[in-house]
């Protein structure tokens, strides 16, 4: 949890986490289709691992050959895992609240039209619901494509725990700027 968190923030946060788990466990079947607030899991890395295992099992691929893809703002692949979007909170007394939870992109924005990252002045941008796909990478011998940058996905904006890294498209001429601006994704919505 973030270092600067106070009790008055922690309690509603816990309530939101439990509310998400409550929602998920009541689905009972076809758990691969539920939308997940990644930062709201107790062990988000385990979710990533579980999706990896599930895909490997489903497609009978070897675990080592799988590579993670994050499609920001897209939810078109029925076999993909949807992370983050809107969380519906059922409150005992009030009507159902919706909260935006999602991955946050820091230091850059997402250009949905051209499907690439664009640098901004350092603001944090909330991303729409996105999908995680595991693909079998046949082109791994060709090396790292020049127009992809590898970004860390941190647990929260303490930036102390890296959950995983994703490759996202970016203008190839200014790729070093991404490192200098410390662009990253954080999962705490």
């Amino acid at each position: 949890m973030p270092k600067a968190m106070s009790v008055s923030e922690w309690i509603p946060d816990l309530a939101r986490r439990l509310s998400q788990l409550d929602g998920i466990t009541s689905v009972q079947q076809n758990l691969s289709n539920v939308e997940v607030w990644l930062g709201g899991l107790f062990f988000p890395e385990a979710y990533i691992t579980a999706t990896r295992q599930a895909v490997a099992h489903r497609k009978r691929w070897s675990l080592e050959t799988l590579h993670l893809r994050l499609d920001i703002g897209q939810m078109n692949d029925p076999g993909a895992f949807i992370v983050d979007g809107m969380l519906f909170l059922s409150h005992p007394y009030r009507q159902i609240q919706t909260t935006f939870v999602g991955l946050i992109l820091e230091g850059a924005a997402w250009d949905a039209e051209n499907e690439k990252l664009i640098l901004n002045d350092g603001q944090a941008v909330r991303l729409n619901a996105s999908q995680i796909r595991w693909v079998q990478d046949d082109s791994s011998n060709e090396g790292h494509p020049a127009d992809l940058v590898t970004l860390p996905v941190y647990l929260n904006n303490d930036r102390s725990d890296v959950m995983f890294t994703v490759d996202l498209p970016f203008d190839r001429h200014s790729a070093s700027l991404v490192a200098m601006r410390a662009v990253c994704l954080t999962a705490r919505g």
Binding site: S6, V7, W10, L21, T25, S26, T51, Q53, P92, L155
Partner: protein, 88 residues
């Protein structure tokens, strides 16, 4: 107030138990049980604090740390120690 919000959520976490090879199922089952454990611990701790204030319970080191950090509003170790991890 805190107690009310939390305890209302407590009853709604369903328990499922059987062997299921689906990794996602096992993951969410684990998450749910952590959540339940955490909620129980927090509920118990807060109820104990109330008891201490009413003079029905003697203070322990655990409760003393908890109460001093509650008044400061900072997160204390006792509150989250049930997870046995400081990262989540």
């Amino acid at each position: 107030m805190l107690l009310i919000v939390l305890f209302q959520t407590l009853n709604t976490l369903p328990k499922q138990s059987n062997d299921n090879p689906d990794p996602l199922y096992r993951l969410f089952f684990r998450e749910a049980s952590i959540g339940r454990k955490l909620l129980d611990q927090v509920g118990k701790d807060l109820a104990d604090v109330v008891k201490v204030c009413d003079g029905e319970l003697k203070q322990t080191n655990h409760l003393r740390t908890l109460m001093s950090s509650l008044t400061k509003g900072s997160l204390s170790l006792p509150l989250c120690s049930v997870l046995n991890t400081d990262a989540y």
